[in-house]
Structure formats: structure tokens, C-alpha cells
Assembly symmetry: C2
Homo-oligomer: 137 residues x 2
């Protein structure tokens, strides 16, 4: 038998979670290993693996729930902002789409190592953009 | 005079950018200081500051564009996955909503320091979830 999906188990009520939002198409609950306390995961009840797999009819409600959660972590937990993120495939610990909403506060220590940056040599940016445009066209 | 918004300048065609997606309500272009090459920013043409400020009528198209970009960085650049993220207020370098789409590849070095984690002591998770539920109710 295939290993059951832990987020499907939570959606089915077979695994425990601290649920914060319970909607017809989505569930949001605390991440058990939070970046900061109040770190929430928003998951569609339907098992889809990555963000591009989210069905079109769920998009508006999914982003609306993300907006509400981003506001809620500020209001409920006294955060100054939020970090909203999805890992698709790489660094994705559970292969069931989950959007992270993490409360952020200035000086919380996440800044320094959070966004390592690189550069483009001459011409590299133009060629990179051209490849993306070709695929998107 | 207020300092002009650099993303509004790009949207207006007054500042240069490597544009990859040019749509009626959105523009996507290369981040000039990419986490990895091909790191794209998706911005609404309308100046809104954070994700919760995105007007309801733009939500579906915004997330659809994000889905297309997450697929495009894989197809165009040979990535294995993607990282899709928004910083709201804290760590937000430009106060004009921008969604990062970053190509990811296993072993690209981002994993180790990318998701520092903390824990909940007894009762802390339940009380944190209760505060969020109160605000979301």
C-alpha cells in the first residue's frame, strides 16, 4: 500500500492538527515545526501536489484564504508582517500543496540568511528572460 | 515629492526590466538580484502594497499567472521545482506587492538554512491556534 498522505489524513480528521480555518475546499492548521509560532499551512482538501496543479475553480478562494491568514497572523499574534510561500517539488516536505503563512516581525532574525542573492553576467539576464518568454508565449 | 515606486516605474515603461510576462493587469520581470538566475517577480500594474491589499477581482488572474510562471521556470530553465513567495511588510524591499517565483533544483544549496524551525511548549500550540481562530471567525 502507498504511504498515506499526512495532509489528506488531517483533512479526513484521521490525524490531529490545530485547525485555524475550516472551509469547504480548504483547511488551515499550525505547522508542527514552525519557522515562528503561529506558522500556518493552508491546504486544499483535494489532494493536488503543487501550485500549478491547483484547479482553476479553487484559485480565487485559495488566494482569498491566504489573504485572510496573512492578515490574521498580524492581528492575532501581534506580528508586523508575514511571509507567504509555497515550495513546489524541491524542498516540499509533503507532496500535497501547502501554502505557508508565517508571522514576521522586524528583527526576528530571518533577514540575513533568508534571501541569498546572486548576479547576472553581461547578457545572461537577457538570455534568461528570452527563454522564459518563449515558454510563456 | 514622494520617492517614485520602482515597480510602478517599470510598469509605466520608465525604468528598464527584463520583462517575461506582459498582461493587462500584471507584469512579470527578472529580479535584478536573483536568488537563482531566472528568479521572476510578478507585480500587479496597480500599486497595492501587500497581498491582502490585492483587489478581489485580480486574485484569480494573479494566481493563474503565478501557476504559469512556476511551470515556466521548470520548462524554460530546466529547474526541478520552484519557490513561490511574498514578503508582506517585513523583509519587503519594495512596498509594491511582488510575488517571487524562484527556480529550484535539488542540491542547489538553499535547503539547509532556508527553513529554520522552532517548537511549541505544552499548550502553546493550542493557545496560538485559538487566537488565530478568534480573529478568523
Amino acid at each position: 500500500m502507498a504511504k498515506p498522505c499526512v495532509f489528506c489524513s488531517i483533512v479526513a480528521g484521521e490525524a490531529e492538527a490545530h485547525v485555524v480555518l475550516d472551509e469547504p475546499s480548504f483547511l488551515a492548521f499550525l505547522d508542527v515545526r514552525p519557522v515562528f509560532q503561529g506558522h500556518v499551512l493552508l491546504v486544499p482538501r483535494e489532494h493536488v501536489e503543487t501550485l500549478p496543479d491547483l484547479p482553476a475553480e479553487l484559485r480565487d478562494d485559495f488566494l482569498e484564504a491566504a489573504q485572510r491568514l496573512a492578515t490574521a497572523v498580524k492581528e492575532a499574534l501581534g506580528a508586523q508582517g508575514s511571509f507567504v510561500a509555497v515550495n513546489n517539488t524541491v524542498s516540499q516536505s509533503v507532496p500535497h500543496l501547502h501554502l505557508h503563512v508565517v508571522p514576521r516581525t522586524k528583527g526576528d532574525g530571518l533577514r540575513g540568511f533568508f534571501w541569498p542573492r546572486t548576479t547576472y553576467a553581461d547578457g545572461e539576464a537577457a538570455s534568461c528572460a528570452a527563454r522564459l518568454r518563449d515558454v510563456l508565449a
